[in-house]
Symmetry: C2
Subunit: 208 residues, 2 copies
């Protein structure tokens, strides 16, 4: 399984790298998680320089793609050559977008008829692209999921783990903070719906 995290110049570290860290908790020989960028090196919104791990072309062939967020997403969607490199298709891969990443999925026509989550800054641009924006941290329908709010990033990662690795009744535990009450679980219910829940039984989200 290859999961690519699209990461552009001016990226938000929380969006790309929380997903990277959480997804890498799955320790299986065929499980690979990569930062995918148009350039060899990419700088974050706060000046952090990191090396990309795969190309947009390889990302387009991944089993799951997370579109990260950043300060310059409107430049990305205005760049026809760059957008043409994103050959994404929910019929053969899981697609997830975080905050302004939702605008990229919207402009690629991949959210048609699917309501979406995003951040407050990006909201009017996503609406302008004809998409209903939900006031909630996470929403998924079929093979497409979106999240809004940087600390919602684990939800996207959890959704991908649940969809790629989950099975009915099987649970994968991801330790949230330290104590008993701070454990985050990914579970699949009897109908194979993935559920994020805490130990205290507080269901955070139920995926469609």
């Amino acid at each position: 399984m290859h999961i690519a995290i699209l990461t552009f110049e001016g990226f938000n570290e929380l969006d790309s790298l929380i997903a990277l860290g959480v997804l890498n908790r799955i320790k299986k020989p065929d499980w690979r998680v990569s930062i995918a960028s148009p350039t060899v090196r990419v700088r974050s919104m706060n000046g952090l320089l990191l090396e990309s791990q795969t190309s947009l072309r390889e990302a387009s062939a991944a089993d799951a793609v997370i579109v990260g967020s950043g300060m310059r997403t409107r430049e990305v969607v205005a760049d026809g050559a760059l957008m043409a490199q994103l050959q994404l298709d929910p019929s053969r891969q899981l697609l997830a977008a975080q905050c302004s990443g939702t605008l990229i999925l919207a402009k690629l026509g991949l959210l048609d008829g699917v309501p979406a989550c995003t951040d407050l800054t990006t909201k009017p641009w996503v609406q302008e692209a004809g998409i209903d924006v939900l006031n909630q941290p996470f929403f998924a329908r079929g093979n497409v999921a979106t999240a809004g709010g940087c600390l919602a990033s684990p939800y996207l990662a959890a959704w991908i783990i649940a969809r790629l690795e989950g099975s009915g009744g099987k649970r994968t535990s991801l330790r949230r903070p330290g104590g008993r009450e701070r454990r985050l679980r990914i579970a699949c219910d009897a109908q194979y719906h993935a559920v994020l829940e805490t130990d205290v039984g507080d269901r955070l989200n139920k995926f469609e």
Copy 2:
């Protein structure tokens, strides 16, 4: 204000980079957050290569230091020359450690008499260094704080913001996921104790 995040070879992305992202939400001209490493470039436990932003020497002079976690912390504490570069002092700076970073503070003699949080793998080594380990995600006393569990990283960042920027009754909002119920607040109560709480009134931690 300079906040340095000590980041060593084999580092855990969640620990160093969530703190970096959350701390950079403070937009003030004198507010600076840096990844500090012994080398110019540093590679994470999952193979992500990034460029360090400051030296250990500059980090030792910072107003606040977060000691990040990683796969090779036992090598760090066994390296006398490296440990000697960490001239940390809670009488002039805030010190925070995440997961195995707690072992570094312990070995530097900076946790004497202070119970601490860490991850389950590091726990026996911290105990061997004579420190009581708490089964909770966050603990602070005076100018020293520790956290255990990767997703406890925002607590350390919030504690630093509250200590460096907080004032009685003043609140700084950090959006947690998207919706109303997922907002994380940093607040200071009437006694200038910093409190992390959610909108639903669930107090996560109260700092000593």
